[in-house]
């Protein structure tokens, strides 16, 4: 089953620049149905074997797409998300890094009345092993199995997935929710989907400093999850007031410290790895 995407996903690519084209190619190679591209002004062209449309509406009508991956540069990215929602798509995965926070704030508020689920922005995307790849993750390191992975990070997700795969533990779906302050799909949203997915037996959750999404997730685990959860929180010794790479990874006003997040998760019964080398083993011990 997996969550969010599988072999039936029909994917559009918004923004066919260098990165969009490169990753559309890798997704197709992996077996994902990439059914069209959207690039205003390039409608009617075929780029790398992908039919290109000027608008998402047209692309959906012509291809029957139900999902989109967004590589549009920051100034137009929030608009691209809203266009996807306007065209009635169910899923948009926004890879773009560097979108102004207030753009996302407005877009997120506007999505409340639509049927679109947004993943990201500033995220590596999704992989359901051997079925579907949306975004920029190296799908090769994944293997099918029963563990859901959800993370605010990119390469640290790959590290966790790699640790699991080396222990012979496969994944149902790997979800990168993104490192920005305002994101579409939260830890809680992803945990709820994994809880409801019959093929997922346990979850690895990778958080980091900044905000309070991990604390909210801890409450959700305590109140609603029956499946075991293992976690790691990056930035345990990060100095306050410094942005650690991700726009959302900053301890501000005494909030967002790793120690608070770890305490909240442990109080909720989550097994938290203290060392990033032990993410896989921590999950393995739960099963």
């Amino acid at each position: 089953m997996a969550i969010l995407c599988d072999r039936n996903t029909r994917l559009l690519v918004q923004g066919l620049g260098r990165m969009g084209r490169f990753h559309a190619g890798l997704s197709t190679e992996y077996g994902t149905q990439v059914v069209g591209g959207v690039h205003p002004g390039k409608g009617g062209q075929v780029i790398d074997g992908i039919r290109v449309f000027d608008t998402v509406h047209e692309a959906v009508e012509e291809t029957g797409a139900n999902a989109t991956v967004i590589f549009v540069p920051p100034p137009g990215a929030a608009d691209a998300v809203l266009e996807a929602a306007g065209a009635g798509l169910e899923l948009a995965v926004c890879i773009t890094e560097g979108i102004p926070a207030l753009d996302m704030l407005r877009a997120k508020a506007a999505l409340a009345g639509s049927s679109l689920r947004l993943v990201g922005p500033n995220c590596p995307g999704l992989v359901t092993p051997e079925q579907c790849r949306i975004g920029i993750m190296p799908a090769r390191i994944t293997r099918p199995g029963p563990v859901g992975v959800v993370s605010r990070s990119g390469t640290l997700t790959y590290e966790a997935v790699d640790q699991l795969s080396r222990l012979g533990i496969g994944q149902s779906t790997c979800v990168g929710i993104g490192g920005d302050p305002v994101i579409g799909t939260s830890f809680v949203d992803a945990l709820a989907l994994f809880e409801a997915d019959p093929e997922t037996e346990a979850v690895v959750m990778i958080g980091e400093i900044g905000g309070s999404a991990e604390e909210t997730a801890a409450r959700f685990v305590q109140e609603h999850m029956t499946k075991p959860v293992a976690a790691f929180i990056a930035g345990q010794n990060a100095p306050p007031g410094k942005r650690m790479g991700h726009a959302g990874a900053i301890i501000a006003g005494g909030q967002g410290k790793a120690s608070d997040k770890i305490a909240a998760l442990e109080a909720a019964g989550v097994a938290v790895a203290r060392s990033p080398a032990e993410m896989g083993e921590t999950l393995a011990k739960l099963r």
Partner: protein, 393 residues
């Protein structure tokens, strides 16, 4: 991005938010001139640095004459201001803002922040002006009033009334707060601020509202559409290494340990610092070379890391998703040869073409310690830094 108080106040003035009259000075003579032109019975000479706690640190002084303003400015200019926000190294004061003093009846707090949990901008107000809001939140949370703003509707008059009457203002003052807060909100949204703090917001003896201090931060991701805000950047206020990193598009944060780090990806970079600490060591920096790390980026990153005299070992940790480890390995070898890296180098390559990458490192003849897993990389880096320490002793 942070700006100075005098810059924040100029922006506030543009948006119709009431601020005291003031002038910038970079010399004692200019401060004297400024004080004279303000023609106020009392002026305040305020150090302009990107840090709070200036008053307690001796960076804010009252003067009763232009001559006294000159004397105070000569003391403040050039001083190394140390507050709880500057760190022990302090900040050199290069400019002072000379401002007309005012008759203070009440000191309040007013701020706008992005509330990440609510996914809304929040107006934060408190009767405890002049104190840090985090302190108020910890000690007396009941004294903080929060109003969330719908991004579609914007700030509504009833929300200002709620804040104003909640702060104990009278009807006339609440009327003034409508303009004050509407201007502040409009500035926040139009200029893509990430934080606005008026602390204190002063009610004068005449019942006027004035922004006595002002702090504005701006969203780095939105600076591309605000050239006017970008121009307010004061490079003197930034860590020189962080500034240099920004120019070459690397995310870098200087720390006080001795193991230099180069990693691809912010999450893995944070986790690498954690790994070093789990192994008993101490990282010298956070450095995210980005998803598109290539040979040139690696060389630039090495230069930056080696500028830190405390670095006793370097740990390179690359998880090649899309990045190819063989290309990174070539970059490491080239940089190590070109720069003549003398500290021990521990390199962990994992993911795409990792085996080819390790071969390149081994064949280079350079003294590079390879590591397979994240845990092994941390242990070897800590051991290398300790060995270096022992060698020095």
């Amino acid at each position: 991005m942070n700006v100075h108080e005098y810059q924040a106040k100029a922006l506030l003035r543009d948006y119709g938010v009431a601020v005291p009259h003031g002038r910038l000075a970079t010399t004692p003579a200019e401060a004297e001139d400024a004080a004279r032109s303000l023609a106020a019975p009392v002026v305040v000479v305020k150090a302009q640095v990107h840090a709070g706690g200036r008053g307690k640190a001796g960076g804010i002084k009252l003067a009763k004459s232009a001559g006294e303003a000159k004397t105070l400015a000569s003391e403040i200019l050039g001083m190394n201001l140390r507050s709880h926000q500057t760190g022990p190294e302090g900040k050199i004061v290069r400019k002072v803002y000379v401002e007309a003093g005012c008759d203070i009846a009440r000191e309040l707090y007013l701020g706008i922040v992005l509330d990440r949990a609510a996914e809304r901008l929040a107006v934060i107000a408190s009767t405890e002006g002049g104190m840090e809001i985090e302190e108020v939140a910890a000690r007396s949370p009941e004294r903080i009033l929060t109003v969330h703003i719908d991004p579609g509707l914007g700030l509504q008059p009833w929300q200002v009334r709620r804040v104003g009457f909640g702060l104990g203002l009278d009807a006339e003052q609440v009327g003034r707060l409508q303009d004050f807060l509407a201007g502040l909100y409009r500035l926040f949204v139009e200029k893509d601020a990430s934080l606005a703090e008026i602390n204190p917001l002063v009610v004068t003896g005449d019942g006027e509202l004035l922004a006595l201090d002002a702090k504005l931060n701006f969203d780095d991701n939105a600076l591309y559409r605000h050239p006017d805000v970008r121009e307010l950047r004061d490079p003197e206020e930034e860590d020189p290494r962080e500034r240099e990193a920004k120019e070459i598009d690397l995310a870098y944060v200087g720390l006080d340990g001795d193991i230099g780090c180069m990693v691809n990806g912010a999450g893995l970079a944070m986790a690498t610092l954690d790994m070093i600490q789990v192994c008993g060591g101490s990282p010298a920096n956070f450095l995210d070379a980005g998803g598109g790390a290539d040979k040139e980026k690696v060389a630039q990153a090495f230069k930056l890391i080696l500028r830190d005299q405390n670095v006793k070992a370097i740990l390179v940790n690359i998880f090649g998703g899309i990045v190819r480890c063989d290309l990174i390995a070539e970059g490491v070898v080239a940089a190590a040869e070109e720069l003549g890296v003398e500290v021990p180098l521990v390199v962990r390559l994992q993911g795409t073409n990792a085996a080819e990458g390790r071969e390149i490192l081994a064949a280079s003849g350079l003294d590079i310690t390879p590591a397979e897993t994240l845990g092994e990389a941390g242990q070897k880096a800590v051991a290398a830094a300790r060995g270096r320490e022992a060698g020095e002793a």
